[in-house]
């Protein structure tokens, strides 16, 4: 199917983009990687009259370590994160998650900021950013502001970004001493949207977990933390009983929607399995 007709302009600066968004409101869309936007326009699911291409705003791309945080620009392509030595060192969770995002050709175009701003609950980056406790950096007419990941994802395809703001970057804490990160998801085919997925990080000492954050994808209308399960797992040294209790807590606090093929019960069963396997993986002695 072909899109409905629209006009196209390349933003020359972030301010230029903001001005166009303010002027056209809901009739305009930001075009970054376009891997989601162009697919939905091609199915005539939306009919904007103007696309504002921010692809030339190179200031919004790049991965760097600044002031003790890993800063990933919004226009950074998924593939750059997948291949980045800085990410591998400081936020391995993202390097583990990247190969699950669609396929290579999509990852060469899709952007980190695009995925975060779109906030599909089945997407990998929102759950990763939530697991790591990142900070989203937004730019509006009034300047920059920062929003914590815990406060950024508000609902189905809904974030704290206002319509007249651009997402500039995400800042992530650097991997701490003793910290381990583990991403896993279950999908019928490589690259499909996950049926259930888990982005997990913790500081591990023997069989004791601390600073544990469990962020789930495809199990709600937004990426979710399972705080009850986190609490149980951090309550003492891990044991078969503690893990069983954590699973019970998880099942009680998650209310996933069924999808076309999988019931909520199946998703909970898969989530419980992902939890067990992630805990085992996080606490496994390194070879």
């Amino acid at each position: 199917m072909k899109s409905q007709a629209f006009d196209y302009v390349r933003a020359e600066s972030a301010q230029h983009a903001l001005a166009l968004l303010a002027q056209h409101g809901d009739d305009a869309r930001v075009l970054a990687g376009g891997q989601t936007l162009l697919a939905s326009l091609g199915m005539r699911l939306a009919q904007p009259s103007l696309l504002v291409d921010i692809g030339d705003l190179t200031d919004l791309a790049g991965i760097s370590v600044d002031h003790g945080v890993l800063r990933i620009g919004a226009l950074t392509r998924h593939v750059e994160i997948e291949e980045s030595p800085l990410v591998a060192l400081h936020a391995p969770l993202l390097a583990q998650a990247a190969p699950h995002i669609a396929h290579r050709a999509i990852r060469n175009r899709g952007t980190f900021g695009g995925a975060l701003a779109y906030a599909d609950p089945a997407a990998e980056w929102p759950a990763c950013v939530l697991a790591l406790g990142g900070t989203l950096v937004l730019l509006g007419a009034g300047g920059e502001r920062r929003v914590a990941a815990d406060d950024f994802f508000r609902g189905l395809f809904s974030t704290a970004r206002r319509d007249d703001e651009l997402l500039l970057a995400c800042e992530l804490p650097l991997l701490a001493a003793g910290e381990r990160q583990r991403f896993s998801e279950l999908a019928r085919r490589q690259g499909d949207y996950a049926i259930a997925g888990l982005a997990a990080r913790a500081v591990v000492q023997g069989s004791q977990l601390s600073q544990l954050r469990l962020a789930w994808l495809s199990l709600g209308d937004r990426p979710l933390r399972s705080r009850a399960a986190e609490q149980v797992l951090q309550g003492g040294p891990l044991s078969a009983q503690r893990i069983a209790d954590a699973e019970a807590a998880l099942r009680a606090e998650l209310s996933p929607f069924a999808d076309l093929t999988h019931s909520a019960a199946a998703k909970l069963q898969m989530a419980a399995t992902l939890l067990r396997r992630a805990v085992a993986n996080l606490t496994r002695d390194p070879a």
Binding site: M1, Y8, G42, A102, R104, A105, N108, R109, Q190, G191
Partner: protein, 176 residues
């Protein structure tokens, strides 16, 4: 090819298979339609137009992309390569030969996109094993072959590369 006058258009200048192409196109036209309609290059095929099947896979600035998920307007000022390159490099030619030798194509509709994906692997993952080849081409749908022969063909070309068959065209130092 004939765009009615009442829709927004833009002027694009795109380097296609080494040649500059200058056209006025509808803003909504995607790169695959641009290649097919405006450049007469019918090798890139449309299978879904929502970025999933991979039939439209081409190279943009040296990286594989879905032609249906890139606007021609976005590609202006950039460089596109398709399987119809008039002077295919040694690796692409070897892949084409291997596909014929192993019958890694039947109807041929997925083949241009599959070749672009396979070429990307041969250049960037020279040490790929059979399993990794399978994963790499998992973004390209083929209904005819069941994939086994395609994996055989790509593995055969990786073997050739390992014994230096393409030494005359050393790979540029790219990110892995």
């Amino acid at each position: 090819m004939n765009t009615p006058l009442d829709e927004p258009t833009t002027r694009v200048r795109i380097e296609v298979n080494g040649q500059p192409v200058l056209r006025d196109v509808a803003c909504r036209k995607h790169l695959s339609d641009f290649l097919r309609d405006d450049c007469g290059l019918k090798g890139s095929h449309l299978g879904c137009e929502h970025g999933v099947c991979g039939a439209c896979t081409v190279r943009l600035d040296g990286r594989i992309v879905r032609g249906c998920l890139v606007l021609a307007a976005q590609a202006s000022g950039h460089r596109v390569e398709t399987v119809e390159s008039a002077t295919p490099g040694l690796r692409l030619k070897a892949l084409q030969d291997a596909f014929v030798e192993y019958n890694a194509l039947q109807c041929g509709y997925c083949t241009p996109g599959m070749l672009m994906a396979a070429l990307d692997l041969v250049e960037r993952r020279p040490d790929a094993d059979r399993e990794q080849v399978r994963m790499w081409i998992s973004g390209n749908y083929c209904r005819c072959t069941g994939y086994h022969a395609i994996v055989d063909a790509v593995c055969a070309v990786l073997d050739l590369q390992r014994v230096g068959a393409f030494a005359a065209e050393p790979l540029p130092q790219v990110n892995p």
